[in-house]
Amino acid sequence: MTLTITAQTLSIASIEKLNELSGESVKLCMQCATCTGMCPMVQEMDYSPRQVMHMAQFGLVGKLADINTYWKCASCHACSVKCPRGIDIAKVMEALRQQVLRKSKNYIEPSRLSAEAIAEMPQIALVAGFRKFTS
């Protein structure tokens, strides 16, 4: 079965992979942008959570690989609790991060953190950050 909606559409397999990893169904999204309105990090993102959900619905894996949205996500679940379609969008963002990290690519290199930052930051910042940004 092929998905032919736009010329940019890549494969239904990428959509299925994302749904499998996240445990969610990106197709449920109706593009209302409540997630974007709730997101505390949106001003640092090059594409809003709503736009990312749209890319995910169309399986635009090349585009999704290039953007910073899911790296700027703080997993605060503000989007998830307000989604009128019941999608846990934080899980979709995690699945997008994991697809990169599981190829042994780090978003942040721990060795480049300054000694001062490591000395000052609470352990939960370091553990949480390494969990989200390193493979």
Partner: protein
């Protein structure tokens, strides 16, 4: 009364001010604290991918420790520890397939099926001590301190582990009012402080944290009360740098709610480790005459 307690890593070092003030306050309220033995890191963040069970092992092992040490309830304080422990506990209780896999993976441990209830310290205070009892024991009321509860993310989200519904702050409000403080409504009490994004941001460049502090200043809030060391780091310890860079117009002293509890109960401020807070925090309390004379 006796409770089993899980402190977590940060509370033993950089957030001693959260932990020690809590333990001292419980002693003053007649509660014996039994810190569970051989606890380990909770993992800090709950694993959100459906196939990732290995990161449930850390939090579940703590719950196993509690069960084998005879606890039916585990009280914890750090918001992130609470969230990871409570969410992993739900998996062990409700997901038979994942529970079986995790139990088989940890075959050196006793089997675990969600028998221990994970309870946040605020819930424990509300349900087992009560605001009226606390109010009667207040020696130094926090009169005139205009404070807002700051819950951040992990105390309330997702809903199935929230200590109260999203958008409701009755627990910390009840406590702060019992302590004599003036609780100011705060429409950013559930906004994220930026959390672990601090790893990728230069000091003082946290836009999410700055937005919260600017909203607090605009609401006439003098102080914020939190239960999370990462919120306190992002909003409190980064504050001077945010001021220096012009990201915020005004500093807002930040406290752990346990510190406010301890000083209101008239305990020695040494148990609050104010040296770990921003200097403005202790100055505000002195100005408001909220610290018992040394």
């Amino acid at each position: 009364m006796k409770i089993s307690y899980y402190p977590g890593c940060t509370l033993k070092t950089k957030a001693k001010n959260l932990d020690r003030a809590a333990v001292a306050s419980l002693a003053a309220l007649g509660v014996e604290v039994n810190e569970i033995e051989r606890w380990n890191c909770c993992g800090a963040v709950h694993s959100l991918t459906a196939d990732d069970l290995i990161h449930q092992v850390g939090p579940v092992r703590n719950l196993v420790r509690a069960k084998e040490q005879g606890a039916d309830r585990l009280v914890t304080l750090c918001s992130m520890c609470y969230n990871t422990l409570a969410r992993s506990n739900r998996i062990m209780k409700n997901d038979e397939v994942k529970r079986d896999t995790i139990n088989r993976f940890m075959d050196e441990e006793i089997d675990y099926a969600g028998e221990v209830e994970v309870v946040h310290f605020l819930t424990f205070l509300a349900e087992n001590i009560g605001w009226e009892t606390i109010k009667k024991q207040v020696k130094v009321p926090l009169t005139g301190l205009r404070v807002a509860p700051y819950y951040g993310c992990t105390l309330q989200r997702p809903a199935e582990v929230g200590i109260e519904p999203f958008g409701s702050y009755t627990l910390m409000t009840g406590l702060l009012e019992a302590l004599g403080a003036t609780v100011v409504p705060f429409n950013a009490a559930d906004k994220c402080c930026g959390s672990y994004q601090v790893l990728g941001n230069p000091a003082g460049e946290n836009s999410a944290g700055a937005a919260i502090l600017n909203l607090a200043a605009g609401a006439g809030i003098e102080a914020l009360a939190t239960s999370c060391p990462l919120c306190e780091y992002n909003l409190g310890k980064q504050q001077q740098q945010m001021l220096d860079k012009g990201k915020i117009g005004k500093g807002i002293p930040t406290y752990y709610f346990t510190q406010l509890l301890a000083i209101a109960l008239g305990l020695d401020s040494a148990s609050c480790h104010f040296e770990l807070n921003d200097r403005s925090s202790v100055e505000l309390l002195k100005n408001k005459k909220c610290l018992a004379a040394a």
